[in-house]
């Protein structure tokens, strides 16, 4: 395998040495561009006390292209679809090479605390979020209890 770019080595070292509270990212031994990630649901959100598993991959042209990332744990959220794909501007058009794995994971954690039904990926969830926010939040809590707690 080709040598891992310095940028990725540095980012990985820092993620391990100086982890972000509530976020863990560990590279696979056999593929150092592929990370197992866990994110703790933010306090006072419907995802509180949930631990969500994600997977992250740094493509060949990272950091010119953003990391690819998705949820493996089922989650009820208007910006996350049934396959765990995430609608977040910094993962698409607003990506900049100045961003990092760390900042992206923080943005995803923030997205859990601030769902945005106006820019939906899961249309049925977004619809319900707009029509009956209280019920949608209750469903999100239920899913967190069912799928995201050990």
């Amino acid at each position: 395998m080709a040598a891992l770019p310095k940028r990725i080595i540095k980012e990985t070292e820092r993620l391990v040495a100086d982890p972000v509270p509530g976020i863990n990212a560990t590279p696979h031994e056999d593929n150092l561009r592929y990370f197992d990630v866990t994110i703790h649901g933010p306090a006072s959100s419907p995802y509180e006390e949930g631990i969500f598993r994600l997977e992250l991959f740094l493509p060949e042209d990272y950091p010119m292209s953003p990391p690819k990332i998705r949820f493996l744990t089922k989650i009820y959220h208007p910006n996350i679809d049934k396959l765990g794909r995430i609608c977040l501007d910094v993962l698409k058009t607003n990506w900049s090479p100045a961003l990092q794995i760390r900042t992206i994971l923080l943005s995803i954690q923030a997205l859990l605390g601030a769902p945005n039904p106006e820019d939906p990926l899961a249309n049925d969830v977004a619809q319900r979020w707009k029509e009956d926010e209280k019920a949608a939040i209750e469903t999100a809590r239920e899913w967190t209890r069912t799928h995201a707690t050990v």
């Binding site: 593929n31 592929y34 998705r70 396959l83």
Partner: protein, 137 residues
């Protein structure tokens, strides 16, 4: 080159299939749209022109195991077909398909479908007698 992990590879194939950017005469998608592991896929092949298969639509299924794409998926026909690489249960022996016989992790489900469609149109296969249209395994 960066080695694209199984799940991200399957997401790429799904997006290509969903956008209908697939090769001529072939389509594919997930059996269950909420199957997070993306293991089971449906596909169709439109019978190649100038063959006994012309105007027929063949249904197939794929199973992508944990070691896909390092290992090829399993492929089988749902629609009955008489073809030398397909056994009596509909299972496809991809080692008999020249283009994909030497499996390589860059190959995709689409490439297998294209290879099958070519094989159906091959001079030695294009006139083989076929089971009644619409019958299944």
């Amino acid at each position: 080159m960066a080695k694209v992990p199984r799940n991200f590879r399957l997401l790429e194939e799904l997006e290509k299939g969903e956008k209908g950017l697939g090769a001529d005469g072939c389509s594919y998608g997930l059996v269950d749209s909420d199957d997070v592991m993306m293991s089971n896929w449906n596909a169709t092949i439109l019978g190649p022109p100038h063959s006994v298969h012309e105007n027929r639509i063949y249904s197939l299924k794929f199973h992508c195991g944990d070691s896909y794409p390092d290992q090829p998926p399993t492929v089988s026909f749902i629609s009955r077909i008489n073809l030398p690489c397909v056994n009596q249960y509909g299972n496809v022996d991809i080692s008999k398909l020249q283009r994909v016989a030497q499996w390589n992790r860059d190959f995709t489900m689409e490439k297998i479908l294209v290879a099958l469609r070519e094989f159906m149109a091959h001079p030695s296969n294009k006139k083989l007698p076929q089971p009644a249209e619409g019958t299944t395994y």
